[in-house]
């Protein structure tokens, strides 16, 4: 202790960074650095004795108080002195400040970026935006056309030609719709042949309610014209909501609900 202090005081300008730096690294030692720096600037010829150094330390807090009057009277000189004497402590403080500012900026940028990213995600994932009905005109027209076609084929038959309809059904129906269709045909096949019933189905209007990638829901207005034998044809209206799924680049009906 006695050996290091005089050495420090004998070459204040050169050793100061060395003494200031280690303390600088210790974040808790902020106050001692200032104390050590102030006496040196206030008393350039500080006694190289242990007691002198101790005095200087003790007198440290008083230093700025003594220099307060001239500093406030001559702010330019005060600033000069601060630059000359306390430059290292100021620099380290400035560096810390810069560091804090930089961290702050980075934090703000990251936070802002995250907020924007989240906002964009929210905007894109709204129900309205996910539903591509009409917004994707090509896909909308395609699914509507394919479903119209499929319904017409599946629900149109002649007394001797139910096989064609059933074959179409196997191609375009799937899931619940396919099961329902099989059940229906198992029940009515004999009647169809016996009563010579002809049915032709036509989609009058089709609207795509929802289109999201490979799933779609449509509202279809159908006209179904049936004729018994050579009797008069009667037309009935049907409203269906159809759920369809795109499989192997082809829309298949998975569910039909009569409305």
């Amino acid at each position: 202790m006695r050996l290091t202090r005089p050495r420090r005081a004998s070459a204040p300008a050169l050793t100061r960074p060395a003494t200031a730096d280690p303390t600088d690294d210790e974040t808790t030692a902020g106050a001692p650095v200032e104390e050590a720096a102030r006496p040196e600037s206030g008393m350039p010829g500080g006694e190289p004795t242990g007691s002198g150094a101790a005095e200087a330390r003790e007198g440290g807090p008083a230093g700025p108080q003594a220099g307060e009057v001239p500093e406030s009277e001559r702010p330019v000189e005060g600033a000069d002195r601060a630059e000359g004497g306390g430059s290292d402590s100021r620099r380290s403080r400035g560096g810390r400040l810069r560091g804090v500012a930089a961290a702050g900026i980075v934090a703000v940028l990251l936070g802002g970026g995250c907020a924007f990213h989240y906002g964009a995600h929210q905007l894109r994932s709204t129900e309205a935006a996910r539903n591509r009905a009409l917004t994707d005109t090509e896909a909308t027209a395609r699914v509507a056309g394919e479903i119209d076609n499929a319904l017409a084929r599946v629900f149109s038959y002649t007394p001797d030609g139910t096989a064609t309809a059933e074959r179409s059904a196997r191609a375009v129906l799937d899931g619940r719709a396919a099961r329902q269709y099989r059940d229906l045909f198992a029940r009515i096949r004999d009647d169809l042949a016996g009563q010579r019933i002809t049915l032709s189905t036509e989609a009058v209007r089709t609207g795509v309610i929802e289109l999201d990638g490979d799933r779609a829901r449509l509202l279809v207005f159908l006209d179904q014209t049936s004729r018994r034998g050579n009797g008069k044809a009667t037309t009935a209206a049907a409203q269906l909501t159809v759920t369809a799924r795109l499989e192997n680049d082809r829309w298949r009906i998975v569910d039909i609900k009569a409305r």
């Binding site: 560091g99 905007l123 917004t135 036509e202 209007r205 909501t241």
Partner: protein
């Protein structure tokens, strides 16, 4: 000896500065990308169009339901609602036939209610403010003797946007067997 510690002391902050600079640049890049992404999403024509479509559908379904709802005990309110749901020619038609129609309903003492089963937009021109909708509807008519009759109907509606609100400008029932109504 005294000079040696000064060198690292001067240099020490540099790698840190470089690192923080790189970090700041990365953060700035990320923020810029995210901002642009958000701007793109916020000004996406498609999502605005999609929102307009959903608005038109909601307004269309509500208007069709309104026009199929009427209570003989509260005619004025019901018919006001008809008029506020419509615009253009349809509104004029309703307004001109209002008195006569009100008397008919009063005499028949019917209560008509409607429920929308399903609806879809088939056309939307968001610039011109025109849209067409399909609505599948179940109409229940309660006669004066309490007998209820239910009837499903399919409606074609045409909507026009006035003062940023979609209103029905035409409404018709889809003809059954009327060839292929375009």
């Amino acid at each position: 000896m005294p000079r040696t510690p000064r060198v690292p002391a001067g240099r020490r902050p540099r790698p840190l500065t470089t690192l923080s600079l790189a970090l700041a640049l990365c953060a700035a890049g990320f923020a810029a990308w995210a901002g642009e992404d958000w701007y793109g999403a916020a000004h996406d024509d498609r999502s605005a169009y999609a929102a307009e479509r959903d608005e038109a559908l909601a307004a269309g379904e509500q208007a069709v339901q309104n026009l199929n709802t009427l209570d003989h005990r509260d005619l004025d309110h019901g018919l006001d609602l008809w008029e506020s749901s419509t615009t253009g020619e349809l509104r004029e038609q309703l307004a001109s036939g209002r008195k006569q129609f009100a008397e008919q309903v009063k005499a028949a003492k019917t209560v008509t209610t409607a429920r929308v089963l399903s609806g879809a937009v088939t056309e939307l021109d968001d610039r011109a403010g025109r849209a067409r909708v399909l609505v599948a509807l179940r109409v229940t008519v309660k006669a004066s003797d309490g007998a209820k009759t239910e009837k499903d109907s399919r409606m074609f509606g045409e909507l026009t946007r006035t003062k940023s609100q979609w209103r029905l400008s035409a409404l018709g029932q889809a003809p059954v067997g009327g060839a292929s109504a375009g």
